[in-house]
Amino acid sequence: MRARAVIGSVVASAAVLVAGWQAGATVDAATVASGHAPGSRVGAEPRGTATASPASPTGVASPGAGVALPSPGSSAPGGGGTTGRPAGGAAAAPAPVAPPAPAGAVDGVYTGDLVDTVYGTVQVRVAISGGRITDVVPLKLTDKGSESARYSREAAPILRSEVLSNQSASFTSMSGATYTSGGYLSSVQSALDQAGF
């Protein structure tokens, strides 16, 4: 009878583990498909729309689409001016006017979508000047759980320099800060989309 218990335990455990693994793979596939796959090369061009906040702009060409987000968790409410560096926490400047034509990026400061991750929401602002990405400023980084706040602090400068040197958000995620970088890059990409970059 003990043999039956041993066999039962092994079979049941194996079945449960396989089911769990399978379910995890399904979740992974779903997040990849929705363009919100941190660490995945498939998601190298995240649209940032799947998990965007309801207040996020929807189009690239509609005037006023780049209006500053109310961004509830953000410390810098304004949409920024055209100076290239937003005055963090300063009074809201007039909303940047989105490019009338998609040909080439229009200089300005663009606020990316709010991106939800397991460890909290992420939002960045991208400055474009002379057709180049000149700065990325995090407005909100992952902070759910104290570890992830630390990761965010460490990851943000690295992510910023990668975006500046690659001149795009197509950069695979950072190990150890998968969620932060996934959310960061999604938000960057949505800002670039607004700029027609």
Binding site: A5, G8, A23, G24, D28, G39, S146, S175
Partner: protein, 465 residues
């Protein structure tokens, strides 16, 4: 005696069906117990982040988290096993449940240690520091100091339970330390919720863990606190009389109301708590040495440990709290047509009660009693009378222990050429109920196994005091 017991074939059929049911239930329970660890892992995997781990640090961190989940899962299972749940007691028996509880202690602790070590390593690698240096930043995270304390407490609990270490402590001291495991489990909860975000975010995982915590702490609260208090109040048990049986051995009579409602059968024990100022905080598992009537129960104690000798001195009229009845060392586990009751030393007490219960026909039972010296023949007179009245044969083995494989009998009997088969000729068709000290039990069980008795026909209860 019921009708079926008088019709041997029918009784046998019933016993076999009952045995099949019970072993199926016990196998299902054991399967659930082990598979619960796999469920903990599977729920973690199903949240979906694991397939995306790429760096060494992430893999180490993930494995570390899994170790923590499985370790915690088994700690909670251990609490359930120690909760004295009636269903568990009827299926695998309290003794077996505690035996499983004991074997799980060390592996569970290793998993928790691996959890701490791997996470310190993984976090350390991603921060570029060594695991020891990582302890300081970890301690600055809310809830983590408590988690470190929890691990320290758990180490203390397991180390004090190692056989070699436990001998250095009195039962009472060990038991107090052991209660720290509740504190350890409670202290570990906050960091699972805040730092191990998986518990808060993925719903199935959340429900599973909440359910497990509720079952573990709920069963302990109900079966170790509420039920004992209710049944103690209801039955109002007090010490009625104390009478010496032999030097160091005492019978205690307990008076109460409606004791038959407890449905205690011969061979079972209660956990007793004598409410005097010196003894209230210590509970004693003691077997009934006679079948209880509706108003009177009797236990017989040999005073060896500090606690049990103090129990012998409580005044008449002392109020008593009870938990029980517990134990599968009863006729409920009979499977063979014949039965032998074999006892050594103070191990006679459950045998005495089972004989009185008498679920066997004339000529079907044999009693075998073992004592090193004639003055250790506790309750033998009562047992001999009962055996005669029930038509059971009764033998005794008295004298210093024989050597080697015969150490379950006396030197004199070994020299006369006594064997287990010579005492119990129809051994293959006999249920053996063995009760006595550990070494003696091992010896006679081995002799019975060597003579071809199937394992499920050997029922043993260890009496080490």
């Amino acid at each position: 005696m019921t009708l079926t017991d008088r019709v041997p074939g029918l009784a046998l059929e019933k016993r076999r069906a009952r045995f099949a049911r019970r072993s199926l239930a016990s196998d299902v329970l054991i399967t659930c117990l082990w598979a619960s660890g796999a469920v903990a892992v599977a729920l973690y995997l199903s949240s979906g982040s694991v397939g995306r781990t790429s760096s060494a640090a992430e893999i180490i961190t993930t494995v570390g988290a899994i170790c923590g989940l499985v370790g915690c899962n088994y700690i909670l299972v251990m609490l359930v096993l120690a909760a004295r749940i009636p269903l568990l007691d009827r299926t695998i028996g309290h003794e077996q449940a505690i035996a499983v509880h004991r074997t799980m202690g060390k592996p569970a602790l290793y998993l928790l240690l691996a959890h701490a070590a791997l996470l310190l390593t993984g976090y350390g690698m991603s921060a570029g520091v060594n695991p020891i240096a990582e302890i300081i930043p970890m301690l600055s995270i809310p809830d983590m100091p408590l988690a470190f304390i929890a691990l320290g407490l758990m180490i203390t609990v397991v180390v004090t339970s190692l056989v070699a270490v436990r001998r250095r402590f009195s039962y009472e001291a060990w038991h107090l330390i052991h209660l720290l495991s509740y504190v350890a489990v409670a202290f570990a909860i906050p960091h699972q919720l805040s730092v191990g975000g998986v518990l808060a975010d993925s719903t199935w995982q959340r429900y599973y863990w909440i359910a497990l915590y509720v079952i573990a702490f709920g069963t302990i609260a109900v079966f170790r606190f509420v039920v004992p208090v209710v049944s103690s109040v209801r039955h109002g048990i007090t010490v009625a009389a104390i009478s010496p049986v032999a030097p160091g051995v005492t019978s205690m009579f307990l008076r109460g109301r409606g004791l038959s409602a407890l449905n205690a059968v011969g061979g079972q024990f209660f956990v007793w708590r004598f409410l005097t100022r010196k003894t209230w905080w210590h509970s004693h598992p003691i077997t009934l040495s006679a079948l209880p009537t509706d108003t009177v129960a009797r236990i017989t104690v040999r005073g060896l440990g500090d606690g049990s000798s103090r129990v012998l001195n409580v005044p008449v009229g002392t109020r008593v709290m009870i938990e029980g009845p517990y134990g599968l060392f009863t006729s409920a586990t009979r499977i063979a047509p014949k039965v032998a009751f074999v006892a050594a030393g103070i191990g006679v007490t459950p045998i005495r009660a089972m004989l009185e219960q008498g679920e066997f026909g004339p000529g079907e039972a044999t009693v075998l009693l073992r004592a090193s010296q004639p003055d250790e023949a506790y309750l033998w007179d009562e047992i001999e009378q009962l055996a005669t009245r029930r038509g059971a044969a009764c033998y005794s083995l008295v004298g210093p222990r024989a050597s080697g494989a015969n150490s379950w009998m006396s030197v004199g009997d070994a020299q006369r050429g006594v064997t287990i088969e010579s005492i119990l000729p129809d051994l293959a068709n006999t249920d053996l109920y063995l009760c006595g000290p550990g070494g003696w039990l091992d010896s006679i069980s081995a002799a019975a196994r060597a003579a071809g008795v199937p394992r499920h026909q050997i029922h043993s209860e260890r009496f080490d005091w």
